[in-house]
């Protein structure tokens, strides 16, 4: 293979990308060396098994991916702003919308939410860590290296260009030769395995490690939504694993699953993809519901209205999410009967979702709303999400869907639900739990500026797209015709508004790091659930004394009764897992193996796989029992953190 086939050439934007990557990498290496931080990086971060640190790494990676996906989006909107635009050619545009979709769903939304779960769930349920801290580190590195493998494609080998759905036969070996599509398959495979491991891990954590007295129906709603999400992950991600593996085998080893030769059935890919893909939508939306429920209850200063109905509607949505996948391809021609069945099941999801909306509204009734930044994101969610939700029902009406499908109406719909649902929730959750992570709040004023730019930009960007869809503008075209010009230019303006909002948000992180007041107590928002019972910074063992829970909103009850969550007389030595570099090394080796497989260098890939297996064997013989933190040390830590 020639060097110029290995690196992508001939595209100025990509050269710029290469230069940027080289500069950033050398800057990072220089800074780490100059400040002698390599040891710190390895000891404190790369080998950590602490759920709080892993959560922070998840969120930082997700923010980086949000930047990448957002940059893709702005490039697309620039190209579509004017009919004569020649900013991107067809091929480049195809690559960009493919990576935009994949990055946003797989490498932004899920890791962001999993990061928030990492931070909040063990604290909410009174646990000391995840059930399997080692596996948690493994999951993170699987995601991180998977994301890196996918992202490197744009400078090495070429980006995938068959859409984030990667439909066959287009994505098969015949029509998409070369490494691009392999990057998609293996990058997703790696991070998917990590997600599945998180699914098992967090599920056991929630089922088995709750504080004494916390029955399932006294569990905070975010933990509930996490539990159900993990349940969906456990059942949906194996489907993706198989689908990706089959397509990989098709492309690299010549099998005939989704090919046009050998009587393969390309449509089976669509079927398998959406059998995973629809539950996936709920994987990124249900935790968002949980976050909004927490934020709304906290800042409305009121108990969540209809808690058990909220829980049951999450469960019902999760169940239905496995029964509606065909609505992504109503137009495949499976017949009126099949479409009727899935049309009705799709619309049925509107029932529990509608119930949730009304319950949130009822939570606001006779409350005392405090307009903080997280609350603003949560409030903006309700009307915006309803607009996305009702158009979702319209799309669910199969006969009408024949006109909406593959058009900008669809684009507008899923951005309305995914941005108003997931992205707003990520912002709300990040700002809400930010003091728990970093010891200070984000600046309110700058936060509000970011909020208004983003939310107004969002509506300006996506509302016109409904109408573009009704005017017959299909998705994924790289240029527009003059009839669609007006609304497109409005949409592009909105997109840049969102971009400014994001930039202000990132600036706020820097500004608050420099100037925000440090938190003195562990409870900056006057919270209701157990995570606020821990001091700031949260000690590595989380709870010096695991609290006993006998009601919903356990910490609120404690505060009302005037109890302290910390009782020095009950402190006992705490067992902690040791840090380990094995997850990092193991996933690094497997990533290398995947990279070789991308270029179809089979023997190198096999060697890498064997390396991974050797790492597993080493792990099997590892009987490291961890260590204990002594009572004296705990008391000292707690006293200084609580200012006693």
């Amino acid at each position: 293979m020639q060097l110029d086939e290995f690196f992508v050439t001939g595209e100025p934007l990509i050269y710029a990308g290469m230069v940027a990557i080289a500069l950033v990498t050398s800057a990072v290496i220089f800074l780490l060396t100059y400040f002698k931080k390599w040891g710190w990086l390895w000891r404190e971060w790369l080998t950590t098994v602490d759920h709080k640190k892993i959560g922070i790494m998840y969120i930082l990676s997700a923010l980086a991916m949000l930047f990448r996906g957002g940059a893709d989006a702005l490039m697309m909107r620039t190209q579509l702003a004017f009919p004569d635009m020649n900013f991107l050619d067809a091929q480049h545009y195809n690559e960009i919308f493919t990576t935009h979709g994949t990055v946003m769903i797989i490498f932004m939304a899920m890791p962001f939410l999993i990061g928030l779960m990492n931070i909040a769930v063990p604290l909410q349920i009174g646990a000391r860590d995840f059930a399997f801290p080692y596996v948690n580190a493994l999951s993170f590195w699987a995601f991180f290296f998977g994301a890196m493998l996918f992202n490197i494609s744009f400078v090495i080998g070429g980006s995938p260009d068959a859409g984030w759905t990667s439909y066959t036969p287009l994505a098969g070996a015949a029509m998409s030769p070369g490494p691009g599509q392999n990057f998609y398959l293996l990058g997703l495979q790696l991070s998917g395995i990590g997600t599945l491991a998180t699914g098992v891990n967090l599920m056991v954590t929630i089922l088995k490690m709750r504080a004494p007295g916390m029955t399932l129906f006294k569990m905070p709603i975010f933990s509930w939504s996490s539990l159900i999400t993990m349940f969906i992950i456990v059942f949906a991600f194996p489907i993706l694993t198989v689908a990706l593996a089959l397509l990989t085998i098709d492309r690299i080893f010549g099998s005939q699953f989704f090919t046009l030769t050998g009587e393969g059935l390309p449509m089976m890919w669509a079927n398998l993809f959406w059998m995973w893909g629809h539950p996936e939508v709920y994987i990124v939306v249900l935790p968002a519901f949980g976050i909004f429920s927490e934020v709304i209850a906290t800042f409305a200063r009121k108990q969540l209205f209809g808690y058990s109905v909220m829980v049951w509607s999450i469960i019902l949505i999760a169940g239905l999410s496995f029964l509606v996948w065909v609505h992504h391809f109503f137009t495949m021609g499976a017949g009126a009967f099949v479409n009727s069945v899935f049309s009705v099941s799709t619309m049925a999801i509107a029932v529990p979702t509608g119930v949730k909306i009304f319950n949130w509204l009822a939570t606001l009734y006779k409350s005392k709303i405090q307009i903080t930044v997280p609350m603003m994101w949560a409030l903006a969610f309700i009307p915006s999400f309803v607009m996305g939700g009702v158009t979702g029902v319209m799309l669910g009406m199969a006969a009408a869907d024949y006109q909406f499908h593959n058009s900008y109406f669809l684009i507008a719909h899923f951005h309305y639900v995914l941005i108003a649902g997931t992205v707003f929730a990520c912002f709300a959750g990040l700002i809400y739990w930010y003091p728990k992570m970093f010891g200070h709040r984000l600046n309110e004023r700058i936060g509000k500026i970011a909020f208004w730019f983003f939310v107004i930009g969002f509506h300006v960007c996506f509302l016109p797209q409904y109408f573009l869809g009704l005017d017959g503008m299909p998705r994924r075209v790289f240029h527009i015709v003059p009839e669609w010009f007006n609304l497109n230019v409005v949409s592009t303006v909105g997109a840049f508004g969102m971009g400014i909002g994001f930039a202000v948000f990132v600036y706020n992180i820097y500004y608050s790091y420099r100037y925000s007041e440090r938190e003195k107590t562990g409870d900056p928002w006057n919270g209701r659930t157990l995570e606020w019972a821990t001091p700031i910074p949260v000690p590595e063992y989380n709870f010096a004394v695991v609290p006993h829970v006998d009601s919903l909103d356990a910490f609120w009850t404690m505060k009302e009764r005037g109890e302290s969550p910390y009782d020095e007389s009950k402190v006992k030595p705490i067992h902690m897992p040791s840090n380990t570099g094995k997850p990092f090394i193991m996933m690094g080796i497997l990533t290398l193996a995947s990279f070789f497989l991308v270029f179809e260098w089979i023997w190198l890939a096999a060697a890498g796989l064997i390396g991974g297996i050797i790492m597993m064997i080493i792990r099997s013989f590892d009987y490291d029992e961890g260590y204990h933190i002594s009572s004296e040390e705990i008391i000292e830590t707690e006293r200084s953190a609580r200012g006693l």
Partner: protein, 310 residues
């Protein structure tokens, strides 16, 4: 108070944008201004659902605005208006479970009815047999074969008005979707499979048709014009094509199948159906086998005039 005014203004504004756009724009949007009975049926369904959706949006927005304005934490609020321990209410929760169920039922029935209706020719032309056209997509062009007339066109289509057209959809290679928004909804074209789509035009005119399902580099250019004309004009066009157009030979057809964008539209006085039906399992690898290496080549396609039939 200043805050309240600010917020309410924002929501009133947000509420009014879609309404204004909806009222002013609907009649000009292609899908909302159909030119045939199929699109008409779909438009009716969309309008019907829109009433419900607007209703839901209005109810939620009003409730939301009310809650946010009334229950903000501000000095001088009536303490009786704050009930922090309210945890639920069975009756009201049951009510707002039942209402969505009713709405979904109201939407399901016409949806299912329309679904079954769309699987057969439009009623308005029931007395006449539908015109059969094989619409075959190939990277990145359209072949329209008229088996009864023995003619085939590439990248454009003539149909008689007031007569149902039965499209038999398949693809020579990648998955595409035939979509003529002015006439009605789309369906996928897939190699090795055949799907059926009924459409009909009630007005003379030239409509935009396209592939709406992404299938690679030339996707945006895989468009065609639909000429809907009176039956006599259509018959005239058929006769003329039968006489003046050349025969389609297999080698010519194989050349046309090579992935790429054609500069001009074409017409022939015979069809490719005599040697291959891409809608059957046997026909699914016809194009891929012949042009295996060509699919990987890039066109380096830029925005601009890529063909003459736009």
């Amino acid at each position: 108070m200043k805050h309240i005014r600010k917020y309410s203004k924002k929501w009133i504004l947000l509420l009014s944008i879609p309404l204004i756009l909806m009222l002013s724009g609907c009649s000009e949007l292609t899908v909302m201004d159909p030119k045939g009975p199929v699109g008409e049926q779909q438009k009716d369904l969309i309008i019907y659902s829109l009433y419900f959706m607007m209703g839901i949006i209005v109810v939620v927005f009003v409730l939301f605005t009310f809650m946010v304005i009334k229950y903000r934490d501000k000095p001088g609020r009536d303490p009786k208006d704050y009930k922090p321990d309210m945890h639920g209410n069975k009756t009201i929760e049951t009510i707002w479970t039942i209402i969505p169920v009713i709405i979904v039922t109201c939407l399901s029935i016409p949806t299912v009815n329309t679904l079954f209706d769309l699987e057969k020719p439009a009623e308005s032309s029931a007395e006449e047999e539908p015109l059969v056209i094989y619409a075959t997509a190939a990277d990145w062009k359209w072949f329209f074969s008229y088996p009864e007339q023995g003619i085939e066109t590439v990248d454009y289509l003539h149909i008689p008005k007031d007569r149902s057209v039965e499209f038999r959809l398949s693809s020579a290679d990648s998955m595409s979707a035939l979509w003529i928004p002015a006439l009605g909804g789309q369906k996928y074209n897939m190699a090795g499979m055949q799907t059926t789509l009924y459409l009909q035009a009630d007005e003379n005119g030239v409509y935009q048709g396209r592939n709406s399902n992404f299938n690679g580099e030339g996707f945006a250019e895989q468009t065609f014009k639909v000429h809907a004309e009176s039956k006599s004009e259509f018959n005239e066009w058929v006769k003329q094509t039968q006489h003046s157009a050349p025969k389609l030979t297999q080698s010519k057809y194989n050349n046309l199948l090579e992935p790429g964008i054609l500069d001009d539209t074409k017409e022939f006085s015979s069809t490719h159906l005599q040697w291959v039906d891409h809608g059957s399992m046997e026909g699914s690898d016809y194009a891929v086998k012949r042009h295996w290496d060509a699919y990987g080549k890039k066109l380096h396609l830029k925005n601009g005039k890529n063909h003459n039939h736009e």
